[in-house]
Symmetry: C2
Subunit: 148 residues, 2 copies
Amino acid sequence: MRSLHLAGPEDAEKLLKLQSDFHTEIGIDSDADHRLQAIAPLLDGSPHGAIWLIGPRRAPVGYIAVTFTWSLEFGGLEGVIDELFIRPKVRKRGMGGEALSGIVKSLAEAGVRALSLEVDMTDDATQRLYRRNHFLPREGYQTMTRLL
Amino acid sequence: MRSLHLAGPEDAEKLLKLQSDFHTEIGIDSDADHRLQAIAPLLDGSPHGAIWLIGPRRAPVGYIAVTFTWSLEFGGLEGVIDELFIRPKVRKRGMGGEALSGIVKSLAEAGVRALSLEVDMTDDATQRLYRRNHFLPREGYQTMTRLL
């Protein structure tokens, strides 16, 4: 897919701007230092995740951040879509779905076994996007978390 | 914690036996080859996860498998408890909770930011175990997955 670019350290500034817009839109109060610390390892080639810019590399209109975990069930790597953002002005043009298709193809070729995400159960638009792209809800399970 | 041992390649046989008992108990139909392939990288030091034996190393009574992913929200590694098993004969002695406490302490010291798991919403006993150990449910979200 031509409009999907693996982000490297040189893309940090553009990415942080998009991420700031995303976090403002969904009401997350994050500061730039924390965000840079969180994305830097992924831009530097960490095995724990990767971020792709969506659209022209010099003027991206969004990004998709995928982290990797291991699945005993699937016997291999599982990707998790941690963040997916498209700038409001260019929405409803299918760019989110196109980016998802590109990521699915790329990860499948790399041997990743499954791709997951956590969706807000009241967010119908996002659920529809993922259902259209063949993601199925895992009914009857709930995530429990302890901060360390 | 004395009764928690990081499993290495030499522990594969004992671990596969315990895992076979676990999968039989919860009704997962997994074969030994698939299971060995799934645990081998974690025993070999993969950055994507680790498995600890519970009890005496030569005669373990259970195990806990933790995989690692990256969290943009937490700005660091997040552990996920993929499997936790205690042999039926030694249950109700607090060994699960003791293992959890040991893992939490060890991961926190290693800089891991959070520990999560997916729990069956009808499994009250397991939910109580994790609530007692300060895990909080993430209400209103659902996992969606696409196999690749």
